[in-house]
Symmetry: C2
Subunit: 343 residues, 2 copies
């Protein structure tokens, strides 16, 4: 049917290059002790962020990251035409409750830890196609709420396995807009690749990296096949939270699938947010991981010109405690967005 | 910033009028005994649909509704450029597992029972903007999985309250495409309205209609304010699953908000899918309710010319057992899509 802004099987083209005009992130104390801590816009002194529950703390992180982002853009909430967001909790309640407070038209996304790139991808469509501008894209997670929901409440004190990852307590937000000569953009979106759900039979809910790596490789290979581009055309190919185990597996899988990746151009947000001395095992994870690193680490490098072009691909492990208990394997999904500096 | 395909605060315009080129639905035995039963494409003889769990039955309903829809369009799964779907279960696992089987690039949506209109709205953007075509939009639910997750397992045998609704066991699917002279469309999308999250303080998880009605009224009023249209310009204004309690409240709220609705043009999918003699209390509900009624009841009337233009607005109650137990009120959201016949 020849959709005109489509390349190949999975890639979309943003001909109007939606601009990222502002970004902000809020994170917890453990994240603030990591190497990026000084660059966060807001740090919660305690994991409960002064709220009555960890769930409400997650709501507050999302809401405040959005508010700071809008402040930076000099916009009120009424000036934003749509908000896209998601998180890891059942029924994405933290995002829904943040959207309730902000009163912005809201589309809920769920892609597990791939949500930040899913939101950017769909937000990019809204802006590029002229359906809404500006558009707020956000994602967040919280260590204590994720542990309670997916594994055990923290009070249980269970031992972490070597391949396990640490869910980031934090939220990141990006404001997209049609190109606007009155503003100075941080970066722009040019292409995106919608991922397929891929399952290689992993069943260990403590080894998310292994479950997500094949999906990440599949999306990367689809993007390179669709566009004819090569990994060398990116300063960094950035995954969301494959961690140390999943990142190695991505190199293996992508080679097997015919698109070997140059190790020196790879970066994983889960391996960036914590210092190895923080003992996070295989690295950070959660929707908030890629969202916070995008806001605090990636976008500043595109704005400064240190990087010219990156492929930002958050990855999600599609499991629930119910499906895991019923013996299902863990499928993964990864959506990629090409983000470029504006010169 | 003057997005060109935007009207007012919340409404988007599909200038390329994405066509609905095929639809299908699959449902359970209780739904088949209702007034629409004869029009379903597939009926599961038993609630478990021959699967090992109700959750897997929900996966199978979604997957098979998609496959039948593609068959009707004469397309294989590889011919579809994107799939958007969601359901009520934690981490939208049924939709993700259906997408795993179909291998179509997949964007997970979550809007509780508003998911079918959310998926149509975003799928419409993909097609209208030329980013993908054809695009599959789907939503489903299952009585037994929803009761187990949100309330009690069926084995508990708890008594239902008068305002409670019956989650539909079923899935509906719609295939969108750019207008294609080689095909005969069922209908077309022309406009849509992205809903805001609205909360009027309802806390009764057995009275979803009351929680969703204010959000439905807010979206309707936003649409009429944005476009200058009136309710009389629609053959039907169709809500997803407000049920008997919520439908009355919608009439009240919309009047209070300045846009009184003509009762004779209102229709609720939750009041259409079951016969009152089936004792479903306040009516049907669930993502599958509006999806099945759209496929089996609404689209045939637009295709035949009996109706010319409808506003299809599924409504979602944004609650989780966690937030309810923590004392949160229940916010609602409603997204509206204008669907018109093609003459």
């Amino acid at each position: 049917m020849n959709a005109p802004n489509r390349m190949g099987h999975q890639t979309v083209v943003y001909r109007n290059t939606p601009w990222i005009i502002a970004t902000a992130c809020a994170a917890g104390p453990r994240e603030a002790q990591g190497p990026l801590g000084d660059t966060f816009d807001l740090v919660a002194d305690t994991p409960d962020f002064g709220q009555e529950s960890y769930e409400q703390a997650e709501v507050a992180l999302l809401r405040e990251a959005c508010r700071i982002c809008l402040d930076k853009a000099g916009l009120g909430e009424k000036g934003v035409e749509a908000m896209l967001g998601g998180d890891l909790l059942n029924q994405i309640m933290p995002s829904s409750l943040a959207a309730r407070a902000l009163k912005i038209p809201f589309l809920g996304m769920y892609g597990a830890c791939s949500t930040m790139s899913e939101g950017l991808l769909v937000g990019g469509l809204l802006v590029d196609g002229g359906y809404a501008s500006p558009v707020l894209c956000t994602a967040g997670s919280h260590y204590a709420t994720a542990e309670r929901q997916y594994r055990f409440p923290l009070e249980y004190g269970n031992q972490r396995t070597p391949a396990s990852q640490w869910t980031v307590t934090g939220a990141g937000t990006v404001l997209l807009s049609l190109p606007d000569p009155g503003r100075k953009p941080l970066a722009q979106l040019t292409r995106a690749c919608i991922g397929r759900v891929v399952d290689m039979g992993v069943t260990d809910a403590n080894n998310m990296g292994a479950a997500m790596a094949p999906a990440a490789a599949a999306t990367l290979c689809a993007y390179f096949d669709d566009t004819g581009e090569t990994p060398e055309q990116f300063d960094r190919i950035i995954t969301g939270d494959l961690g140390s185990v999943g990142s190695e597996l991505l190199l293996e899988w992508s080679g097997k699938m015919g698109h070997p990746l140059p190790r020196e151009r790879m970066m994983d947000c889960g391996l960036t947010i914590y210092d190895p001395a923080q003992d996070s095992h295989a690295g950070g994870s959660g929707c908030g991981c890629s969202a916070v690193v995008l806001s605090s680490f990636i976008l500043p490098r595109l704005q400064s010109g240190e990087w010219r072009r990156v492929l930002f691909m958050a990855t999600g492990a599609l499991l629930s405690p119910t499906t895991s208990m019923q013996g299902e394997t863990i499928p993964g999904v990864a959506h990629a967005v090409v983000i470029e500096g504006v010169r």
